[in-house]
């Protein structure tokens, strides 16, 4: 009899975990209070990182991005625009990062090719003509909703059950063990209990709320908001990055016939409604204009904000120690916090959701004695449309 | 939608809410089509009066001399012209041409219908 894993949250984390655990033979249920991938993941920029962004500042993250990027190209080729990205130097200060960037890419195994301004402008005619250099890396574009749906569709084909508009309102206990969740179905306004052998908190910025329901006062995550600004017209075929340390408004992603510039960063208390600071819209458009001058006059298409669940490194507790966990996300076994059977996976980024799920799956497998190894590197993802076949 | 009733299906065709030129044009095509079929049946029924001899036919003509039937004629002519002229528009659009111009084409078709209807009614009235 397979163990029943219940996953709270159907963002990029929850859907990747569903896929991983289903392949290991768990019976999987996903509960999501809204629509799939409708919050943080939905407003994700859609950049499949080559790792270039972290090449100078975080070599471990850079290498992991590079590996996951190559894997995603193999597992979901049709859901990606595989057109590469450019890191562009606009001024002399940018140019000072050139060598460090190329070195960092080489160390992380990221193919990086420097282009002359003339070559760059031939590839991308709408770039700032005053650019000083451009370095080409294997960035890619994805649509975050469909990205997550591909994982969830595959999990569903392997038996996972998904409940949307179903909100977790409490945990069910047996002593110090969690044996399930109490949920409210928004469609019927009825409450019911879903039993489970283990529960995974993949609720992103709401991870703290879920933790509190289990009596865990402090979950190691800080909701950090950022905005994205979309303008009309696909001004570039590729991702356009600013060659500099990672900062605000330094990435433009083409999404179909539009271009999206982002992002910013500020801590919020309530991830449910994040008003967009109006001065940030102008800030983003100005940043965009430096890379692609057309941003100054292109009509606005939309502005959005979402909170990322960034890891709070100051909190200890039930953190799983001694593992080769990639910086940026952590897995927690809350047995140490008085909630046996509850695990949290916090932080991370959509590009590496498969790797995150693998690490969580390994931990959960060890704790529960399920020895099936992770198979997500080999099993290609089904089309997202398969979700609707039943 | 599964389990749709016949009324729901009919309503889907004539629900005018939120519709613009193309959708209104579609509804009018359905209505004029039904109207023309009804007219055709009436027309054929009335023509059988011819087989019933002069009294029956004269009685019929006397009835339709009433001014109300001039109005009915105008509605009939409008319906016939609209269906035919918009029908040409639909034929062109249906082969994949002019989709970006579909709204101005509708107004053009409608305007032409109105102009020709007015001209026809004017002709009928002036003869009478």
């Amino acid at each position: 009899m397979s163990l029943h894993a219940l996953i709270i949250g159907a963002g990029s984390t929850g859907t990747a975990v569903a896929h991983d655990l289903a392949l290991r033979g768990f019976r999987v249920t996903v509960v999501e209070r809204g629509e799939i991938a409708s919050e943080t993941t939905g407003r994700n920029h859609g950049l499949l990182h080559s790792g270039g962004r972290y090449a100078m500042t975080d070599p471990e993250a850079a290498q992991e991005c590079a590996e996951e990027n190559a894997l995603m190209r193999k597992l979901m080729p049709d859901l990606l625009e595989r057109n590469d990205g450019l890191f562009v130097a606009i001024n002399e200060e940018d140019l000072t990062y050139r060598e460090r960037f190329l070195e960092g890419c080489a160390r992380a195994g990221i193919p990086a090719q420097e282009l002359t301004p003339k070559q760059a402008l031939e590839l991308e005619p709408h770039l700032n003509p005053k650019l000083l250099t451009a370095i080409r890396v294997p960035d890619g574009v994805f649509d975050p909703f469909h990205f997550s749906m591909a994982f969830l569709a595959t999990a569903k084909l392997n038996g996972a059950v998904v409940y949307t508009y179903t909100e977790v309102i409490d945990f069910v206990w047996s002593g110090r063990s969690i044996t399930g969740v109490k949920v409210l179905d928004r469609r019927t306004k009825k409450e019911s209990v879903l039993g489970a052998d283990l529960v995974i908190n993949a609720a992103g910025p709401w991870g703290g709320e879920i933790g509190q329901m289990a009596g865990i006062k402090h979950i190691a995550m800080v909701p950090t908001a950022g905005i994205m600004v979309a303008v009309h017209r696909r001004w570039s075929k590729r991702i356009i990055n600013r060659l500099n340390r990672p900062g605000d408004g330094d990435i433009i992603v083409p999404q179909r016939r539009n271009s999206v510039i982002g992002t910013t960063s500020w801590v919020v208390q309530d991830p449910d409604q994040i008003p967009v600071p109006p001065e940030q819209i102008k800030q983003m458009l100005d940043c965009g204009t430096l890379l692609v001058p057309a941003f100054a006059t292109a009509p606005l298409r939309g502005v959005s904000a979402a909170a990322r669940p960034l890891l709070d490194k100051t909190v200890g507790g039930g953190k799983v120690e001694g593992r080769e966990l990639t910086r940026g996300f952590d897995c927690f076994n809350h047995a140490a916090d008085g909630a046996e059977g509850l695990f949290s996976i916090l932080g991370g980024k959509t590009t590496t959701s498969r790797a995150m799920a693998e690490k969580l799956g390994d931990i959960v497998g060890r704790v529960t004695g399920v020895t099936t190894p992770c198979r997500t590197k080999e099993v290609p993802l089904a089309t997202y449309r398969a979700f609707y076949r039943s | 939608m599964d389990n749709q009733t016949t009324w729901q299906k009919i309503w889907a065709w004539i629900d005018y809410r939120g519709r613009r030129e193309g959708g209104i044009g579609f509804i009018l095509m359905r209505l004029t089509a039904i109207g023309l079929v009804v007219y055709l049946l009436l027309h054929l029924t009335m023509l059988t009066n011819l087989a019933r001899g002069p009294e029956a036919w004269d009685g019929f003509i006397h009835l339709v001399e009433h001014p109300f039937f001039i109005l009915a004629d105008a509605v009939l002519i409008f319906g016939l012209l609209y269906h035919a002229i918009n029908g040409i528009r639909v034929g062109i659009l249906g082969l994949g041409w002019g989709s970006r111009l579909q709204a101005p084409l509708f107004w053009g078709a409608f305007a032409l219908t109105v102009i020709l209807t007015v001209a026809a009614v004017a002709a009928i009235v002036s003869i009478g």
Binding site: E122, P144, Q255 | R100
Partner: protein, 225 residues
Amino acid sequence: MRTLKLRILRGSPTLGRQYQTFTVTLPDEANIIDGVEQIFGHQDHSLMFRHACHHASCGLCGARVNGRERLMCITPVSEFPDGATVTLEPLRNFPWVGDLAVDVKPLLQKMDMVGLPYSREDELADSPEPGNRFEDCIECGLCMSACPVVGSSTKYLGPAPLAGLARLIQEPREVDFSKACALGKSPHGVWRCHSAMECTEVCPSDVDPSQAIGWLRRFYTFKKK
């Protein structure tokens, strides 16, 4: 800033239906989806709606805004005068889940039958290098909601699947489209369209399904591209 009254259809097949009006105050550059989010975050946490990207790529936030099919994320509040009432209702021709959410299974099953790949050759950019980009169709369902024939028939393929079929035949990318092709010729394919043209008018993504259906008719009739 402006204040709008959002009159939203609430309920579900189990709970019944009624309209509920909320007042929201939004910056002038905001879109309707921001108002819906404000209601969800601050006024009524039970509101059900679909959304993700907020820039018209994911195709989730389709609804009828004052009766007309729109994506809520690119419907600017500046279209409505200060103090106006804006009615929000779910899309037509899809099973109702609750409030503004519908089940898009009917459309996605048909897109699955057609099998249009998600990405295409990139002919939009100016650079000499070929590349790929996502198909224009975001499978948002606005066209399916606006089509009166879809409204009267679950079997009719509908604008988006037929437009997808046209794209598939134009650019097969090693997909065997013979089955999908047969679907298009069937009684529930291209010949059921009556050129109401609402699909092309409401499409937020430059797909022009009516033109695609016409192209398919010429393709089937004359068997050349």
